[in-house]
Amino acid sequence: MEMVVFTVLAVVAVAAGVGVIAQRSAVRSALFLLINLCCLAGLYILLNAQFVALAQVIVYAGAIVVLFLFVVMLLGMERAEETPDPRRTQWIAGMLLGVLFLAGVVWALSSARAAPAVTLSRTDNVRQIGAALLTDFAIPFELVSVVLLVAIVGAVVLAKRKLQG
C-alpha cells in the first residue's frame, strides 16, 4: 500500500521537476514547482516527518512559491518567453554532467549497505522536534532569527528605488 503511494508521489514529483526546468513560461515553471513541493510534503509524511511536511507546505509552497509568482507578475514576465539558447555546448555539457552524476550516485547507493526499510508509524514528531530545537539546537534556532532579520533588511535595501534627489 505504501509502495503504491510512494510510487505515485515519486512519479509525479519527477514529472513536475521536469516540468519546472522545461517550461518556456516562468509562471508555468512556478506552478510545476508547486506541485513538486506538495509531492515532497506527501513523501515526508510517509517518512514520519509530519511536522516537516506541514512546514514544507506552509513555508515552501505557501510562501516561497507565492513570492516567486509575485515577482514574476511584478516584472511582467508572465508572457515573456526565452529565446533559444545560443550556447549549445553549455547545454550539452550540462546534460552530460548530470547523467554522469546520477549514474555515479546510483551506483554508490546500490553498492551501499542495505538500509532498513521505512514504515509508517505513529510518532511523537512535534514533541521531539520541539525538544531538540530548544535544547541541542537552541543556538542555531536563535541564529536563524537573525538570518531572517538580515534577509528582510537586505531585501528592502536591495529592491528600493533610488530616492528622487
Binding site: G94, L97, G104, A108
Partner: protein, 648 residues
C-alpha cells in the same frame, strides 16, 4: 724585565693596524701631513718595539734549561677558529727567525714610508696609499709572526691583496690595472699549492700549529713529505716570483716605485724564502724536495739574470734582478744553508730597496723617464743619488766585504762544502751575470754623456732630503751589513747571523762549521771576487769604452737578443696556452650559457607564464551559468574519484 718586554711583542703588528684604522676612517679630515705622519709613526713604533724585543732576546740564554730553544716564546692572543676538534689559536711565535723578519719588514718599511712622503707628494690619493701600505706591513707581520699555518696563510693572502691594491694604485691606467690583476691571479695559482699543502699537513699530522707539525715531521712518510713540500714550494714560487710563476713581478713595476722597493724587493717576495726556511723540517723529510728548491732557484737566478742584462727599462732591470736574487736565496736554502739564504734575504732587502729608491729618485728628477738609454751623465747632477746607488751596485755585484758579497759568499761556501760543486759553479756564473748587469745599469744611467731630452735636462735636480735620508741609511746598511756574517777565517767564530739562527736549524742538515777550513773559505771568497771582476769588465768595455758595440752585437745576434729581451717568451707562452683558451671559454659561457641558456630559460619562463595567463583568462566568461557548470563539474570529479577508487 726581559720577560716583560717579550710580552709586548703583540704591539709589533698592532701599531700598523692602528695606523690603518686611523687613516682609513679619519684620514679625510687629517690632511696630507698628518696621514703621512700617522702611517710612518705606526711603522716606526713597530720597529722600535721589535728592536727592543731583540735586545731583550739577546739577554736570554740560547739554550733553555730543558735543552730547547731558549729564545723561543709563544704568546697567545686569542682563540681564532674553534670548530669541533679543529682549533686554530692566534698566537705569536717569537723566535730568532721571526724577530729577524719582523725587524727587516718594519725597518725597511719605515724608511720607505718616509721616502714616500716626498715621492708621492703630488698624489691626490695619498690617504689610500698610506692606508694600504700600513695594511701591508700588518699583514706581513701576521705572516712572519704567526705560530701556525693558518695565520701564515692569512698573512700570505693579505700581502697578496695589498700588493694588488698597491700595484694598481693608478688603476685608471690600463697597464697598471692589468699588472695588478696579473700579480694577483698568478699568486693565486701559487696560493692554491700552499693551501693544498696546508690541508695535506693537517690531514697527515692533525694540527696546523708549527709546534705540533715540525716535531712530528720525522714520522711523515717521505712520499707524503715530498707532496707537502712541493705544494708549499709552489706557493713560494708564486709569492717569490720563481719559475714558472715569476711573470707578474716585471709587470708589477707599474706601481709606485716606493711600493716596488718595499713589497717587491724587500718584504713580500721574501715570504716564500721565509716559509721554506720555517718548514725546513718538512722539506728535509722528503728525499727530493730540497733538490727541487735548489735547482728551480738556481735556474731562475741564471735565466732572470740573463734577461736583466738586455733590458732597457730601469725598473724592469731591477725587477729581473730581484727574481734572480730570490733564486739565489732558494739556492742557498736548497743546499741546506738556511742561515745563509736568510742572510742574503736581509742584505738583499737593504741593497735592493736602496737601488729601487735610487731609481725612484732618478725618475722623480727626470719626470718619470724609464728608458736608461735616455739617461746618462747624471753623476754630476745628482751626486747623492749617485753615491748611494753606487753602493747598492757594489753590494749586489759582490764586491768583498760589502753586505751582498758576504751573504752570497756564504751560500756558495756551503754549496761547495756540502757537496754541490756544480751548484757552486752555477752560483759563480750567476755572480758574473749579476755584476755585469749591475755595473751596466750604473754606467749607462750615471756616466757617459747625457742623452737626456733638452727640456728635462734643464730641470734635473737632486732629490729632497726626505728622500735622500732613507737612501743614505740603506746605503750604510748595505755597506756594513756584511758584519752579520763575516767569514770564518777571520777567526771570529761563526758568523753572527748563523749563530743567532742556529737553534732553529740545529736539527737540519746544516752542521755549523766548527772546523776552520780557512782554505776552502778563502778559495770561495777569491773566486767570488774574481766573478765580480769578470762581470765588471764587459760592462766597462761596452758602455764606457766602445759605446756602439753593444748595438752592433745586438743586431748581429737579433734572435738571441729577442729571446732574452722577451724573457724567453714566457709571457707569450702563457697567453697562448692559458689566457686565450680561457677567453674563448669565457666568451662561450657568456654567450651560449648566460645569454641563451640561462637568459632564455628565465625569459622563457616569464613568457610561458604570460601565455598561460592569456590562455587561462578566457575562463573568466562572466557568465554565471558557466561558473555553475564548473562547480558541478568539480563535484562530479570528486564523485568519480571515489567511485573509481572503490572499483579499482
Amino acid at each position: 724585565m726581559v720577560e716583560t718586554m717579550l710580552n709586548y711583542v703583540w704591539l709589533i703588528p698592532l701599531f700598523p693596524l692602528i695606523g690603518v684604522l686611523i687613516n682609513a676612517s679619519l684620514g679625510r679630515w687629517l690632511g696630507r701631513r698628518l696621514v703621512t705622519i700617522v702611517a710612518s709613526l705606526a711603522v716606526g713604533a713597530s720597529f722600535a718595539v721589535a728592536a727592543a724585543v731583540l735586545f731583550a732576546m739577546l739577554g736570554l740564554p740560547a739554550t733553555s734549561p730543558n735543552g730547547g730553544n731558549g729564545r723561543e716564546r709563544i704568546l697567545p692572543i686569542f682563540s681564532w677558529i674553534v670548530a669541533g676538534s679543529f682549533r686554530v689559536e692566534a698566537r705569536i711565535l717569537l723566535d730568532q727567525l721571526s724577530i729577524v723578519m719582523a725587524l727587516v719588514v718594519t725597518g725597511v718599511s719605515t724608511l720607505i714610508h718616509i721616502y714616500s712622503a716626498a715621492y708621492m707628494h703630488g698624489e691626490e690619493h695619498y690617504r689610500r696609499y698610506f692606508t694600504w701600505l700600513n695594511l701591508f706591513v700588518f699583514m706581513m707581520l701576521v705572516l712572519v709572526l704567526g705560530d701556525n699555518f693558518v695565520t701564515m696563510y692569512l698573512g700570505w693572502e693579505g700581502v697578496g691583496v695589498c700588493s694588488y691594491l698597491l700595484i694598481g694604485y693608478w688603476f685608471e691606467r690600463e697597464p697598471a690595472a692589468n699588472a695588478a690583476k696579473k700579480a694577483f691571479i698568478v699568486n693565486r695559482v701559487g696560493d692554491l699549492g700552499l693551501a693544498l699543502g696546508i690541508l695535506l699537513i693537517f690531514a697527515t699530522v692533525g694540527s696546523v700549529a708549527f709546534e705540533d707539525v715540525f716535531p712530528a715531521a720525522q714520522a711523515i712518510l717521505p712520499a707524503t713529505a715530498t707532496a707537502i713540500s712541493l705544494l708549499l714550494f709552489l706557493g713560494a714560487t708564486g709569492k717569490s716570483a720563481q719559475i714558472p710563476l715569476h711573470i707578474w713581478l716585471p709587470d708589477a713595476m707599474e706601481g709606485p716605485t716606493p711600493v716596488s722597493a718595499m713589497i717587491h724587493a724587500a718584504t713580500m717576495v721574501t715570504a716564500g724564502v721565509y716559509m721554506v726556511a720555517r718548514c725546513h723540517a718538512l722539506f728535509e723529510q722528503s728525499l727530493s724536495a730540497l733538490n727541487w728548491v735548489l735547482w728551480i732557484g738556481g735556474i731562475t737566478a741564471l735565466l732572470a739574470g740573463a734577461v736583466a742584462l738586455v733590458q732597457k727599462d730601469l725598473k724592469r732591470i731591477l725587477a729581473y734582478s730581484t727574481i734572480s736574487q730570490l733564486g739565489f736565496m732558494f739556492l742557498g736554502i736548497g743546499v741546506g744553508a738556511y742561515a745563509a739564504g736568510l742572510f742574503h734575504l736581509v742584505t738583499h732587502a737593504f741593497f735592493k730597496a736602496l737601488l729601487f729608491l735610487g731609481a725612484g729618485s732618478v725618475m722623480h728628477a727626470l719626470g718619470n723617464e724609464l728608458d736608461i738609454f735616455k739617461m746618462g751623465g747624471l753623476r754630476k747632477k745628482m751626486p747623492w743619488t749617485f753615491a748611494t746607488f753606487l753602493i747598492g751596485v757594489i753590494a749586489i755585484s759582490g764586491v768583498p766585504l760589502f753586505s751582498g758579497s758576504s751573504s752570497k759568499d756564504m751560500i756558495l761556501f756551503y754549496a761547495l762544502r756540502d757537496g754541490y760543486p756544480w751548484v757552486w759553479v752555477l752560483g759563480l756564473i750567476v755572480d758574473i751575470v749579476t755584476s755585469f748587469y749591475a755595473f751596466r745599469l750604473l754606467i749607462v744611467v750615471f756616466y757617459g754623456k747625457s742623452r737626456l731630452a733638452k727640456r728635462t735636462e734643464s730641470h734635473v735636480h737632486e732629490s729632497p732630503r726626505v728622500m735622500l735620508t732613507p737612501m743614505v741609511i740603506l746605503a750604510v746598511l748595505a755597506a756594513i751589513g756584511g758584519i752579520l756574517g763575516l767569514p770564518l777565517f777571520l777567526g771570529l767564530g761563526w758568523g753572527a747571523i748563523e749563530k743567532w739562527l742556529h737553534p732553529l736549524f740545529a736539527t737540519g742538515t746544516l752542521i755549523p762549521p766548527t772546523t776552520r777550513d780557512a782554505l776552502q773559505e778563502g778559495l770561495t771568497i777569491a773566486m767570488s771576487a774574481l766573478a765580480t771582476a769578470i762581470g765588471f769588465v764587459p760592462a766597462y768595455w761596452l758602455y764606457v769604452r766602445n759605446w756602439g758595440t753593444a748595438e752592433r752585437w745586438t743586431k748581429s745576434n737579433q734572435g738571441l737578443y729577442d729571446l732574452l729581451y722577451n724573457g724567453f717568451h714566457v709571457d707569450r707562452a702563457y697567453t697562448e696556452a692559458v689566457v686565450k683558451p680561457l677567453r674563448i671559454l669565457a666568451d662561450l659561457l657568456s654567450d651560449a650559457v648566460e645569454v641563451r641558456g640561462i637568459g632564455g630559460a628565465v625569459n622563457g619562463l616569464a613568457r610561458l607564464t604570460g601565455l598561460a595567463g592569456e590562455g587561462l583568462r578566457r575562463l573568466q566568461t562572466g557568465l554565471v551559468r558557466h561558473y555553475a557548470l564548473a562547480i558541478f563539474f568539480g563535484a562530479v570529479a570528486v564523485l568519480a574519484y571515489f567511485v573509481l577508487r572503490s572499483v579499482l
